[in-house]
Symmetry: C2
Subunit: 369 residues, 2 copies
DNA sequence: GTGAAAGCGCTAACAG
DNA sequence: CTGTTAGCGCTTTCAC
């Protein structure tokens, strides 16, 4: 309680004015340098930059936002967070916000199991005092939420797995193409009998993924018997059960494509319980590249969504809309981002035996190495 | 492209002035109402509140921060994010920041595998222009980072798993007590032969958890044979291997306590491969309550850390330090937060048979069903 | 209790 | 190319 450092307390220590003074220019010129406006003479710019460095000057974001008037408060509304997804989403959104000098406001809409009420959603959004909203799945597919936003005339961008409804900005991936690519990856590895685990009924992303799977199979002249497609619910547990059904078929599939990672992990546990080794006896692939994909062993070969990039794109679209006062029509444009296949340890060529009807010689076969 | 709504664009629509006007008071009075200063006469306050509601007025955070001067920019520096952890941490930090009108700045210190350089860390922190820093594990235990912060005289709060070094503010949990409680939970369920999977060598949290385990065992008069403690590395894979060793012991343990969730999940997969059912033939518990705990089936009984709360506490400590200009000595106070045991599906009383010496009947056993 | 004046640190819009 | 003048929307400080 004597002479403490007293830093980071009240007012800022070094401001634009002091930099200006030291560089022998006006504050305005310093501001121009800060904002990379190329009207400043090189020599002047250098002097200013030196002063900035010498003084360890850092611009005040708040003052900038206030004066500039182009700083948005963007609400991120979410529900039942799958933490892995949310975190990556947040990082992407937060970073883009910083670059554009926007602010992110988190708003959890936890509706203890029930549908969120339109009026309450509107209330919360209003109370948050935001200028625009970005919505990750699963809330991005909620009709009540979208309706509330529409009534509020609040600009929003949805990162979606499901249906493109043409409301607000939409950022998504091409599920069909992604599933198709993954299926082809399996086919290239030599698989012909591939089982597929569907997602929860009514979930469009799941249906799209099935569509891509079917398309790839038929493009390669492969038929998909009825028993090769099992219903899942996107949960680990449902993946276990679906794999149980799939593995009972004859011929037994040599590979399983689950439409998300949790189900793929569940399928692996079933394979284990059946004494099957992964990937030697059974290849398994997932979708999403969530945390479990790299946690389990062997690590899961899966499809990776660019979650952070999608979030950044959502912020970007809103930002442009606001700054440029872009006409409302543009809001309907959807952005399709690329996915990639992440090869890890759960795909191997099928063992020779399993391609034949009754082959015994392959049992116990090791992977070739 | 004619008469768009043009909202959320440039300047704010409704400001404190208009509220003041409508309520027939000065802006100052509105400000007092907004900040819950109890000097305002009740009747006046009511009038102001009505005006606020009628105009749908929302204060401008930027202006508040600028004028008030008590708004901090808090840096969150992280590395190798375990997304589940980071996301929860972020939510806690962000929410508390909003309440205190602070701003969170994300800073990833990704040091492609190598130790971060002290000078570079300092550089990044400076460039971020923050007033204080919060650090989640594992970076919170990094000596270079702490040294860099110390040299910068930058206030920081560490959320730690490991060693309390007395540098900066520290927020942590009592690992010993938590492990002890979990062990007692197992003992209460009837287990006597409990195997333990240690964390990575040198990792203090792991050692503390072992300490708690041993303390509980000896408090209940149970001995822990050498073979009942296996080395792990905190990874799923190492959990598989450790369980392999543990299950080879005689008598075979009826329960396994892994010092994190990933290893517990790995142990379960090994049990499965051995034809053991969880929890009927073997109980397994973890530590941390990360995402995998609720993803797998059966869901893992584990110890839950209050991650969001720890992050919020870190922000709170820094906030108080700055606002109150608290003396530096206080910075050394550590906050110990409570954990809780989350009972899910991987603990059951031990089967009678496994308590005896020679069980042969289990080999090749299929799961029931 | 309430109000008036004076900025917080920065940038827009103009002049020069 | 650079500087001047006015604020951005709010809160502080001090009167009344």
């Amino acid at each position: 309680m004597s002479e403490p450092h007293s830093r980071a307390n009240k007012r800022q220590t070094v401001t634009i004015k002091e930099v200006a003074e030291r560089a022998g220019v006006s504050a305005m010129t310093v501001s121009r340098v800060l904002n990379n406006q190329d009207v400043v003479r090189d020599e002047t710019r250098t002097r200013v930059e030196e002063a900035i460095r010498a003084l360890k000057y850092r611009p005040n974001i708040l003052a900038r936002g206030l004066a500039g008037g182009r700083s948005l408060h963007i609400g991120l509304i979410y529900e039942n967070p799958s933490h892995g997804y949310l975190s990556e989403f947040l990082v992407g959104a937060l970073n883009r916000c910083r670059m554009a000098r926007h602010h992110l406001v988190l708003e959890e809409l936890s509706s203890g199991g029930e549908e969120p009420q339109r009026a309450q959603v509107a209330e919360r959004i209003l109370a948050a005092g935001v200028d625009a909203v970005i919505i990750p799945p699963p809330l991005s597919d909620n009709r009540e939420v979208i309706a509330a936003l529409d009534e509020l005339e609040m600009p929003f961008a949805r990162v979606i797995n499901c249906e493109q409804t043409g409301q607000g900005f939409e950022v998504t991936i091409d599920d069909v193409a992604a599933a198709r690519a993954m299926t082809e990856h399996l086919i290239r590895a030599g698989h012909r009998d591939i089982g597929f685990i569907k997602g929860a009924p009514g979930h469009l992303a799941g249906e799209r993924r099935l569509e891509g799977f079917l398309a790839a199979m038929s493009a390669h002249g492969l038929t998909v018997p009825y028993a090769a497609v099992a219903q899942g619910q996107f949960t680990y547990r449902s993946g276990m059960d679906a794999a149980e059904a799939l593995l009972a078929a004859s011929p037994r599939p040599t590979a399983i494509f689950a439409s998300n990672d949790d189900m793929a992990a569940g399928a692996i546990s079933t394979a284990l319980r059946h004494g099957l080794r992964v990937p030697e006896d059974l290849s398994v692939v997932g979708f999403d590249d969530t945390e479990i994909a790299t946690t389990i062993w062997p690590q899961l070969t899966t499809v990776r969504q660019p979650i952070a990039e999608m979030a950044a794109t959502a912020v970007e679209l809103l930002s442009r809309h606001a700054v440029e006062s872009a006409p409302y029509e543009d809001a309907h444009a959807a952005r399709l981002l690329d996915v990639e296949i992440v090869e890890r340890g759960t795909v191997a060529p099928p063992a020779a035996s399993s391609r034949e009807k009754g082959g015994g010689q392959a049992q116990g076969a090791r992977s070739v190495r």
